[in-house]
């Protein structure tokens, strides 16, 4: 596949690996956070850590949109799904996320009509095909996904579809990064920036990270070489004493982002004063809701959403994992009580969740495996 396979070349990886090792100051430990869950997924799926020297540690960040949904929002969605004539739609990853009353899969088993869609446009299509039902799309995702939701609402408006609404759970990445930067727990040497969010918001919004916090950030693509190269660029900056925002993913990310996408968001959505993030608590201006003008497409206005706050299970340490403070396997329930088939926390559900990625792909002792995969 073009633009995919070129970035999975093991020979280039070995060369980069050697350069990276050479760039590390002896005795110094480097900690870089990959903000985005997509990067976490790539890292484990391709076994990328095999190419990093011991002195470089990748720390998983908060950029998994499924992982940050608090349990209460899942319950709210189920409440909507239980209303008469409602078809609730969402992306596949939401199906197994545990709320206070079980997951969507459980609700389906109990009779709710919840359907998985590939695109918000598919949810709109379901609304068109079921004029006597009320179709709600549970929108999740960062700025990457919000424009698609916005475009779908605009399309619904243009077509006069009146049985379609959005349960909006879009979140914004910058406040989350800022929360991490302000957290006392973590000492980071730089960021691997979220490439796909950046197709929309561009690279400029990260400049404060370099400027105010003194941390370099490289906006990275999602193939393993993209990430390895980004680590290399971060180390080069550090070795050269620079601290800048760089764009490794320039084939896709324009420095100024996507003005059409930003306009679509701006037309239909506005910032919420605050929003609860799973494990991270309330973060101000960190999420989007539908604008007043689009109230008729807003499930939170159309349905009396209870808005119950559900405390995370005691054992759950997703917040620490999302902040990069704990490695997944350091959570006490990891792999025993919390597994992908019986998740306690959200990070174990989404394929971009650090716990799920580590459990599914990375769960083994490197030494034993090296032994096993040797000739």
């Amino acid at each position: 596949m073009r633009f995919v396979d070129e970035y999975r070349d093991a020979d280039v990886a070995r060369a980069l690996s050697a350069r990276i090792a050479a760039l590390c100051e002896p005795g110094r430990q480097y900690k870089f956070m990959e903000v985005c869950g997509g990067h976490t997924h790539t890292i484990y799926k391709h076994g990328l850590e095999d190419y990093l020297p011991e002195s470089v540690t990748l720390v998983h960040g908060p950029g998994c949109p499924v992982c940050v949904i608090p349990m209460g929002r899942v319950d709210d969605a189920m409440h909507i799904a239980e209303q008469p004539d409602v078809i609730l739609t969402s992306f596949g990853d939401m199906m197994r996320v545990p709320g206070g009353q079980g997951s969507f899969l459980d609700a389906m088993a109990a009779g709710a009509d919840i359907r998985m869609v590939y695109s918000p446009l598919d949810a709109l299509k379901i609304a068109r095909q079921n004029p006597d039902r009320r179709v709600v799309f549970m929108a999740i995702g960062f700025e990457t996904t919000a424009p698609s939701t916005a475009m779908t609402v605009l399309r619904a408006e243009a077509e006069g579809v009146d049985n379609f609404a959005i349960f909006c759970n879009h979140v914004t990445i910058i406040p989350a990064i800022k929360a991490i930067l302000d957290s006392p727990d973590l000492r980071l040497d730089g960021f691997i920036g979220p490439g796909h969010v950046s197709t929309v918001i561009g690279c400029r919004p990260y400049e404060f990270i370099a400027r105010d916090y003194g941390k370099p950030l490289v906006c990275a693509g999602f193939e393993p070489l993209d990430i390895l190269q980004s680590v290399h660029q971060l180390l080069v900056q550090l070795s050269e004493g620079r601290c800048e925002v760089e764009n490794q993913y320039s084939r896709v990310v324009p420095w100024d982002g996507n003005p059409v996408a930003l306009a679509a968001i701006g037309r239909t959505m506005e910032l919420r004063p605050y929003f609860e993030w799973r494990g991270l608590g309330f973060i101000s201006h960190s999420a989007l809701r539908m604008r007043e003008e689009y109230a008729r497409f807003d499930a939170e206005r159309l349905f009396e959403v209870p808005g119950v706050r559900v405390a995370d299970p005691k054992a759950c340490q997703c917040g620490e994992v999302l902040k990069g403070v704990l490695k997944p396997w350091e959570c006490k329930v990891f792999g025993t009580a919390c597994t992908p088939e019986t998740p306690i926390g959200t990070c174990m559900v989404s394929s971009e969740g650090a716990c799920a990625a580590y459990y599914n792909f990375g769960r083994f002792s490197r030494d034993r495996v090296r032994e096993a995969t040797r000739a």
């Binding site: 070349d9 280039v12 070995r14 050697a18 997509g38 446009l121 960062f142 698609s148 990445i173 070489l225």
Partner: protein, 108 residues
Amino acid sequence: MCLGIPGEIVEILAEPDLALVDVSGVRRAINIGLVEEALAPGDWILIHVGFALSRIDEAEARSALDFLEGIGQAYADELAAFADSRIVEHDVFIPRPADLAAPASAAE
């Protein structure tokens, strides 16, 4: 974050904002309303949840790849100078190379 897949535009469709896109041999209609520049068959785009998020800039891609391949070549040259056991570690893996060649009918 969020799955983005490169695809090649095969056809601009009659419906507004829609293009038929090929991803490694399969095709889907993708909404291209979020991309500012005019798109044409042969252009590559990044697909996310049924929308094109951006056009892939082939010149940027080429120059970045040149850099990466340059590193790879330089490294290979270095290694050629002496037999390095690390390479062997990767290659001495049962399925012998002969077996690994994907047979004709399954060729990608």
